[in-house]
Amino acid sequence: MNLEIVTPEARVYEDTVDGVVMPTTSGEIDILPGHIPIVTEIQAGEIVVEQSGQKQSLAISKGFAQCVGDKISILAENAIHIDEIDESAVEEAQKRAEEALATMDKMSDEEIAMLETQISYARAQLILKQKTKR
C-alpha cells in the first residue's frame, strides 16, 4: 500500500506501508491492504504507520483521509514526524495560542477556529511525545 500525507506546505510523507492507524472523528481506524474505498474525516491525534514490522508515529492535525485501491492519501493542515517534535517549542506555541484565545471576544470566528486547531494539534504532539518517553 502506498501512503501519502500532504499538507498545504509540503508532501510530508510518501512511502509504501503495510498498515495505517488513524484517528477519525468517529474513532480510530486501522487500514490494511484490501480495505474497501473509504473517505473519512480525521481529527488531531496520532497516526501509526506500520512498515515491515516497524512502527512509526506521526502527529497530525485535523483533515481528511481517503483510501482508494491500494493508495491512502491523507490531507491535513499539519503533520510532523515524532522525531521532529520539539517539545518546548510546541508548549510555547500552545501557550501563545491559549493566551490569544483568552481575548476571544475581539476576534472573528475564523481566527478562533484557527487557534483551536493549533491548540489541538499542539496537544496531540505533546501526548504523542510523552507516550514514547515511557
Binding site: 500532504v6 473509504i38 473517505v39 474525516e41 475564523e110 481566527e111
Partner: protein
C-alpha cells in the same frame, strides 16, 4: 550645444534612478522566488482535496448542495486580485481590460489597492475591499471567501469567480477568471493541478462502493468550504508570484533603459567637453597670433 553642467546634472539623476531600479529588481527577484515556492508547494494539497471532493460528488447523486447547483446567472460575483503597489508593468491593466470587455452585470470584491481604485473610478459595484499583505495569511483569504459565499447563498450573486494574473512563468502572467462557485469540472482541475506530466484524471475509474465516515453529507459540509478557500488561496498565491515577477521584469527594463540613456549622455558630455577645449585653444591661438 547644451552646457556641461546641465548634462552632468542629468547624468547624475539618471545614475540615481538606475541605482533605485536595480535595487528594486533585486528585491522583487528574491520575493518572487519565495512566492513561487509557496505557490508550487500548495499544489499537491489542492489536487488531493479536489480528488477527495470528486469521489464524493460523483458517488452521491442525491446530494443537493447549493455549491453544486447551477442557476441562471444574473449577476456575477467577482473577487478581483490586484497588487497593492504599482511599478509592475501591465499586470493590473491587463485585468482591468478583461473587466471592460464584458457587459455582464457584475459585483466585485477587491483584494489589493489598485483594484479598489480602478473599480471605484470606473463606478462599478464594489461590495467590499479586503487588504491582504505579501505573506498571504490563510485566515485573511478565508474572510474573503466566506464573505462571497454568504452573498452567493443569499442570492445576491449567482456565481463566485476569482480574477487574477495567473503565474505561467517569469515572463508571462495570464489574466485569468476561475470559477469558484458553483463547482464544476473537477476532473480537469485535478489534471491541471497535478502538472503537465500527469495522466488525465478520471473520477469514475474506481467504481466500487465507497464508505464515508461519519456520513457523506457531513464530510461534504466540512470539505466544501475548505475546498473553496483553498482554491482562492492558491489563486492569490499565484497572483503574488505574478506580481513579483512582473515587477522584476519591469524594473530590469527600466534599469537597461537607464544604462542606455547614461551611455548616450556620457557621449554627449564628452563631445561637449571636447568642443569647449577646442574652442578655448582656438581663442588662445587667435589671441597670440594677433600680437
Amino acid at each position: 550645444m547644451p552646457n556641461l553642467r546641465e548634462i552632468r546634472r542629468r547624468i547624475k539623476s539618471v545614475k540615481n534612478t538606475r541605482q533605485i531600479t536595480k535595487a528594486m529588481e533585486l528585491v522583487a527577484a528574491s520575493k518572487m522566488k519565495k512566492a513561487q515556492q509557496s505557490a508550487l508547494s500548495g499544489q499537491p494539497y489542492a489536487a488531493l482535496l479536489a480528488e477527495t471532493l470528486s469521489h464524493i460528488a460523483t458517488r452521491i447523486e442525491e446530494v443537493e448542495h447549493p455549491f453544486f447547483e447551477e442557476r441562471e446567472v444574473k449577476t456575477r460575483g467577482i473577487i478581483m486580485v490586484t497588487t497593492n503597489r504599482g511599478l509592475c508593468g501591465p499586470l493590473n491593466s491587463n485585468l482591468f481590460r478583461e473587466v471592460m470587455k464584458s457587459d455582464d452585470a457584475m459585483k466585485f470584491v477587491s483584494v489589493g489597492r489598485k483594484g479598489k481604485q480602478f473599480l471605484s473610478r470606473s463606478s462599478r459595484e464594489l461590495l467590499a475591499d479586503f487588504e491582504i499583505d505579501d505573506s498571504v495569511p490563510y485566515v485573511k483569504v478565508k474572510q474573503v471567501t466566506e464573505f462571497m459565499i454568504e452573498k452567493y447563498l443569499s442570492g445576491e450573486v449567482d456565481t463566485v469567480e476569482i480574477m487574477y494574473p495567473r503565474f505561467v512563468n517569469v515572463l508571462t502572467q495570464a489574466p485569468t477568471v476561475a470559477k469558484l462557485l458553483p463547482i464544476r469540472g473537477l476532473d480537469e482541475m485535478i489534471t491541471e493541478l497535478r502538472g503537465k506530466d500527469a495522466e488525465p484524471y478520471e473520477s469514475s475509474a474506481d467504481d466500487r462502493n465507497f464508505v464515508f465516515e461519519p456520513d457523506p453529507v457531513s464530510i461534504l459540509n466540512s470539505l466544501l468550504p475548505l475546498f473553496v478557500d483553498r482554491q482562492a488561496y492558491q489563486a492569490i498565491l499565484s497572483a503574488r508570484a505574478s506580481e513579483h515577477s512582473a515587477r522584476m521584469v519591469a524594473m530590469k527594463t527600466a534599469k537597461d533603459n537607464a544604462t542606455k540613456l547614461l551611455d548616450s549622455l556620457t557621449l554627449q558630455f564628452n563631445k561637449a567637453r571636447q568642443a569647449a577645449i577646442t574652442q578655448e585653444i582656438l581663442e588662445i591661438a587667435a589671441a597670440t597670433s594677433q600680437d
